[in-house]
Subunit: 242 residues, 2 copies
């Protein structure tokens, strides 16, 4: 946000120059503040410092603006997940865990995008662009699940990689929606959402036959995690069972 945006029309001249972008930013702010349902076209125009008719040059209506935001959200989400996955480095299980945490981080850091993507009531299946963006994001999780499936120890029955990916998605989504959202509807929790999800994923992976002692694959040297990070007990991230 450059300071020029704050100046309003006095210094702006007749043409805004970057109104489409400004409207998207304004809407993001409004959604973060009042929820996807609370934002209005007129309000976005006002925040961008233009007349209420101006947005119609760039978006057919409110819904088109909202789906643009959802779409951009999925793109950023995909980028974040890709970065977290880091092609499975230093080892598949660690990277997999990191993807889950990235999911939470996104919900927390970008409540407006999250809300537009998952809670705005937009029928994702009916909007081809949106659906494609959503699927590209999910594809990151799916690719990670494929790698995990290929690595799974034999002997334990396991579902297809697609289903594993859907499991991870729904775990992450459940924790994020209930406990890691960036707005007032977040529920309080006697632990961090990250620890909750980490334990959940670890138990799940153990159910697939993976050994889940931390750093079991012996790649400690490559592990980027700082020493002293929480949840490092050998028995898992939840302390000692009684």
């Amino acid at each position: 946000m450059s300071w020029r945006k704050e100046q309003g029309r006095a210094e702006r001249g007749y043409h805004h120059g970057n109104l489409k972008e400004a409207l998207l930013q304004a809407a993001l702010g409004l959604i973060a503040e009042k929820g996807a349902a609370g934002f209005t076209f007129a309000d976005a125009a006002r925040m961008a410092g233009v007349s209420p008719a101006a947005p119609y040059r760039h978006f057919r209506d409110r819904d088109e603006l909202l789906s643009s935001i959802a779409q951009r959200g999925f793109e950023q989400f995909e980028a974040l997940l890709t970065q977290a996955w880091d092609d499975g480095r230093p080892d598949t299980v660690t990277a997999f865990e990191r993807v889950g945490k990235a999911y939470l981080a996104f919900a927390r850091a970008e409540p407006a995008y999250y809300s537009a993507m998952f809670e705005s009531g937009l029928p994702v299946d009916l909007n081809p662009n949106l659906l494609a963006a959503s699927e590209r994001a999910f594809a990151v999780i799916r690719a990670a699940a494929e790698r995990l499936a290929a690595l799974a120890p034999p002997g334990t029955p396991r579902p297809p990689a697609l289903m594993m990916a859907l499991h991870i998605w729904s775990m992450s989504h459940g924790v994020a929606s209930l406990f890691a959202r960036g707005d007032a509807a977040r529920r309080k929790l006697p632990m961090s959402a990250e620890d909750l999800l980490e334990a959940e994923v670890l138990i799940y992976l153990r159910g697939l036959g993976f050994p889940t002692e931390r750093r079991a694959s012996g790649q400690d040297a490559a592990d980027k995690k700082p020493a002293g990070a929480p949840s490092g007990q050998p028995s898992g991230p939840w302390g000692t069972p009684k």
Copy 2:
């Protein structure tokens, strides 16, 4: 819905007789139709066949009506979960699975309640009645988790029962929100949400050390499930891994 409700004022007389209830029902219908954000006080009044001022005799404002619905939703939810849990019969694992399915069934059958409870943006933590109702519902899951924890085979590390309960909650919530919602925002899935969740919970339970061959505890006689129900392969509910 009795036919009398449809008649409007002509046969109703000056007093409605049951306006509070009628407003709740009307709001439920509107929320199911247009989402929690889309329903208006005036619309509810219109549907109940009274003037726009009448609702103010029963609810301070729109928000109070909305939280009443959320609260009632949590109460019905609690009842449904309690019934599904059935005090752990015929065996704990089976009953536990059934609780998960009841979660999905609720999301599907009562999209309006579900939306008011989880997606309306109501800050549950700030409304004591609502919070209490929400916690009573969660307590059912928690009690089930306690029983499960007490039963867990020794040797496998496991988290406190509270955390296990939160895991089940978030799994169910994730699957329900993404794939089993009763409205247009539901995402398509190449399998049933029920099967997805069942597999997820089974893998999770296996990760806790439970044997997960179906009906492992030998109480088949008491099992209420009809023969021929899907997902009965011995290796789990997802078919044969390749």
